[in-house]
Amino acid sequence: MANGIIFDIKRYAIHDGPGIRTTAFFKGCPLDCRWCHNPEGKKCEPETIIVRNRRKGSGKYKKREKETFGRMVTVEDLMTEIRKDAIFYDQSCGGITFSGGEPMMQMDFLNAVLRACKSDGFSTALDTCGHAPPDDFERISGLVDFFLYDLKMIDDGRHMKCIGVSNSLILDNLVMLSEKGHRIILRIPLIPGITDTDANLADILKFIESIKNVNEISLLPYNKLGEDKLGKFGMKNILGPLQTQTRAELDLKAARFRSRGYKVQIGG
């Protein structure tokens, strides 16, 4: 059976869908988002990164420590971890979320784990960037209860520039899944000046109004954790420090979608 490479398993994940969930983070991502806050999830293989620990109080990076991200696991290994919190999923109508990186990069492993989850009766969610062959989505879509589908930018030129790939596959897959009637929660990361612009949000609204079955939206405020990680890993912060949106700003953006009948959640 296929093995997979994961870089984290988070239990009591309460912001990735309904109920109490366990989120498994798959390593490897086809995108190259400038703001990526999980840089350790980009490469497909396990990797050793030198981590610089921030010294308390002062802003200097001091200690250097090697840390390996990613480990090879069997389906059974992952299922053993997943099964541990079954009592919590049952109680809260929660389940398992596959995130990353991009889980679709490890198709065979993902497919096998999803099958195992279904055979155990667990609810499943797939957190995806959408950049994967449509056939692959066809293959697993029946095993996924809902998709957490990232939608970043509609303007393809800017998409290529900031994310490294064209968005055509992403938009096509979204249309395909929505037409098949899958439950989709759109996740829009709000990156100041990039995705969080009036024009882009207007484009997104226009696009999703043209497709069926997408009623739920999560607006993800800018997460400073990414900057912290870049520092820790000694990576360059191309964007420079950005500010997290204020509650009032977020409410305003949410209202824009709500007024068009969408169920909007901030965060999660």
Partner: protein, 787 residues
């Protein structure tokens, strides 16, 4: 909160705790009079009780609605020299210490020196206990293997049921007289002794009525002098109420509260019952009065709220009596562990939550007082609304209420042999202790330091702190070939110390039964009147004795570490390991890092460690549960620490889990501070592997930062987390909802954070009143908000 309550609350918060010798002086006067020598011990105790209530100052605070103070003024705290007589040095410590201090005046000091100490020296139960117990007991006690509650506080762990709401003390007196009439002096050899107990109860019953009527008289006098017309009317009403209750059963909501309060003052004046005497299922007991008064148009929801708030203030006016010596260290707090139970199920098994449950939750949220403590019993039948209401209060960082699992409480009590009805009418008290309210004497006899026993085992019976042989010779650990050999040696030491403790307990139980019966408390607990026996002598329907295991996380991680490193991975020899422990990991930094970071720990849902925990639990249970006490009942176990894990840590050297010498041990069934790295579900799964139903209570502390609970969706998920834990039979869970940053700030600027209440163990306390070690430990407890 209206102006009156604001004022009463402020009066209570501003009152400075002090030592009052009023009770000690009256008690000594009575015993010196010679009257005690002419009667039996129980009758003398009852007469002494009566003498105190006849002569103590009647205190009516300005604006109050419920009357009765244990001392001459709010927070004037009596001493109990017949139990333990404070030395002048004790008084100096109490007066001078920065935390939890009690003001001691010069007059008090002089009185203690000239009158109290000379009379009670050698007669106090503390003196008698230390004289009667074996040298082995003293050696283990001194080494910090266990503590002993009853050397300075009375064995009082009990809570009231609903009997006082149906009977007046005149009714109880009639029951007592009937019980005397039924005595069979021809066939029952104990009949004469029973008659003395019952006579004593009758005297004590009369004493409380007399005490209430003294209040009625004083209130009438104040009413006559009062110029403010509404207050005048109020004082007159209060005087009428104090004439009626507790002589007769209460008829209104207000009478019920006043009645209970007189009973409360009675119980805590008779003896310094450790601990927690309280009305128990208050929302259930008061509901009939609330509904009836409401219908009759004599009570509004707002008036009920005001009366409850006034009632709350009365609890806060009574700090726990000042302790001495080791006990002062083990439980350093003003709180006296009154744990009001809300929710749960009715006697019939149906959901018991009602309108009053929510009103009382409003009251405690608004009052934010240290005392009384409160908890919500969450049954599978409880509505989610109740759970979420409780969580919304917890979210504010007040540390109350704590949450208990009704199904586990009932199952625990039934397993111990109680009827299902008695179990359903029961609950938890003190920190987390299960009891059949109104029908059980469940005595905590002392904390037991499981981790210290391993230290003794690793030194073949010697306490490395003193070099004394205090345990048995269980074998040279360096020669053990397998983990099982080590574990067997540990279990032998464990058995030895538990035997020493139980042997001592038997002596202590008898001393209490003989010298300090509690006739007043006996009136209140079934079936002391019917049996003609005292509460302290097996008169109650159920009589349980507990030895509370402390440091389950520390002992589990320590044994797991030896199993893993010495026997499994074999990367260190036992000889080198023990050497590193003796050196407090000096020169063994790498080893300590491996122990802390790369060795399995309890609290991560890892069976490698959790199986060791299961094994320790089974040993502790098997060595204690079911052994008879001297009162017709049995020994049981529970797992809770109050704050003793700090004291126990302070006398325990470095441990194999990587803990340095003298640092606190883990508390309750919580993982070692910072050892749980896999989030709250993993902690609950590990804790769920304990067979809670075979205990009489376990304590699990979880710390959440407010950010994790900010939105209602997170709150709902926390609710699911709790329900899941309770599905696993988890007994209790409580939350500290504060940030470490806030706590650090509070540590630096205590004056700015005087109102900060944190959950310490089974209770909450003002953070600034805690010692620095305990403060640090609370800061260290894993912050799940960071996950």
């Amino acid at each position: 909160m209206n102006d009156r309550i604001k004022k009463l609350r402020r009066q209570s918060l501003n009152a400075k705790p002090s030592v009052s010798l009023e009770r000690a002086e009256l008690l000594t006067k009575f015993y010196k009079s010679g009257e005690a020598e002419r009667v039996s011990v129980p009758v003398a105790r009852a007469l002494a009780f009566k003498y105190i209530l006849e002569h103590k100052k009647i205190c009516i605070n300005d604006g109050e609605l419920i009357v009765g103070e244990r001392g001459p003024n709010p927070k004037a705290t009596p001493t109990y020299p017949e139990i333990c007589t404070h030395t002048l040095k004790d008084f100096k410590i109490l007066n001078d210490r920065r935390k939890v201090s009690f003001a001691v005046s010069d007059k008090t000091r002089k009185m203690q020196k000239d009158t109290i100490i000379p009379f009670w020296s050698g007669r106090s139960i503390r003196d008698r206990i230390f004289e009667a117990v074996d040298p082995e007991w003293v050696a283990a006690y001194d080494a910090g293997i266990f503590t002993e509650f009853r050397e300075q506080r009375a064995p009082g762990h009990t809570v009231l049921d609903d009997k006082i709401y149906h009977n007046g003390f005149l009714d109880f007196k009639r029951d007592i007289e009937q019980s005397i009439e039924r005595l069979d002096f021809y066939n029952d050899p104990e009949a004469p002794a029973k008659r003395e107990q019952l006579r004593a109860m009758a005297i004590a019953a009369g004493a409380l009525v007399l005490y209430a009527r003294r209040h009625a008289k004083k209130l009438s006098e104040l009413a006559a002098k009062e110029r403010d017309a509404p207050r005048k009317k109020e004082l007159k009403e209060m005087a009428e109420i104090c004439e009626k209750v507790p002589a007769r059963a209460p008829k209104t909501f207000r009478e019920a509260l006043q009645y209970y309060w007189f009973v409360h003052v009675g119980v805590i004046t008779e003896l310094n019952t450790w601990d927690s005497f309280n009305p128990g299922r208050l929302d259930r007991h008061l509901l009939p009065f609330y509904e009836k008064d409401f219908k009759a148009g004599i009570l509004t929801r707002e008036r009920a709220r005001e009366l409850l708030q006034a009632f709350w203030v009365k609890f806060n006016n009574q700090p726990a009596p000042p302790k001495v010596g080791v006990t002062a260290e083990e439980s350093n707090t003003y709180t006296d562990f009154c744990l009001i139970n809300l929710g749960g199920v009715k006697e019939t098994g149906e959901d018991a939550s009602n309108e009053l449950t929510y009103l009382i939750l409003d009251v405690l949220e608004e009052m934010r007082l240290l005392q009384p403590s409160s908890m919500v019993q969450v049954s599978k039948k409880s509505p989610d609304r109740l759970l979420y209401r409780a969580l919304k209060i917890i979210r504010t960082g007040y540390g109350q209420p704590s949450l208990f699992n009704t199904e586990s409480i009932v199952a625990e009590l039934v397993r111990q042999g109680k009827t299902v009805q008695d179990a359903r009418n029961g609950g938890a008290s003190g920190c987390v202790e299960t009891g059949a309210f109104g029908k059980e004497s469940y005595i905590l006899t002392g904390y037991f330091n499981l981790t210290k026993v391993l230290e003794i085992t690793l030194n073949n019976g010697i306490d490395p702190l003193t070099g004394r042989q205090i345990g048995i010779k269980s074998g040279d650990p360096k020669k053990f070939k397998t983990f099982d050999e080590l574990y067997d040696a540990f279990e032998k030491q464990l058995q030895y110390f538990i035997d020493v403790k139980i042997k001592g307990n038997r002596i202590i139980e008898r001393l209490w039964a003989e010298y300090l019966p509690a006739p007043f408390l006996s009136i209140l607990i079934d079936d002391c009147i019917v049996n003609g026996k005292d509460y302290n002598d097996g008169g109650a329907r159920y009589n349980s004795s507990y030895i509370q295991g402390v440091g389950l996380g520390s002992i589990t991680d320590s044994l797991t570490a030896i199993n893993c490193r010495v026997f499994d991975k074999k990367d260190i020899s036992m000889t080198a390991f023990i050497k590193a422990l003796r050196a407090n990991f000096k020169g063994a930094t790498r080893l300590r890092q491996v122990l802390l970071d790369e060795t399995p720990k309890y609290g991560n849902d890892d069976d490698y460690a959790d199986d060791v925990m299961r094994r320790i639990f089974e040993s502790y249970f098997r060595l204690i549960d079911g052994r008879p006490n001297t009162k017709g009942g049995h020994y049981r176990i529970n797992l809770l620490p109050t704050t003793v894990h700090v004291y126990f840590g302070s006398i325990t050297g470095a441990t194999p889990d990587g803990r340095k010498a003298w640092e606190p041990l883990s508390e309750g069934i919580s993982p070692v501070q910072g050892a749980d790295r896999k989030g709250p579900t993993a902690v609950l799964k590990s804790a769920g592997k304990i067979d809670h139903v075979r205990t009489g209570g376990t304590l699990l502390n979880q710390k959440f930062t407010p950010s994790l609970l900010a939105d209602d969706d997170s709150l709902v998920k926390l609710g699911h987390l709790i329900r899941s834990y309770f599905k696993m039979d988890g007994h209790h869970i409580q939350f500290n909802v504060v940030t470490a940053e806030t706590l650090r700030k509070a540590q630096k600027n205590p004056e700015k954070y005087k109102d900060l209440i944190v959950r310490v163990a089974g209770y909450s306390d003002y953070f600034v009143d805690l010692g620095v070690d305990l403060q640090n430990e609370i800061i260290k407890r894993t912050e799940h908000g960071l996950i």
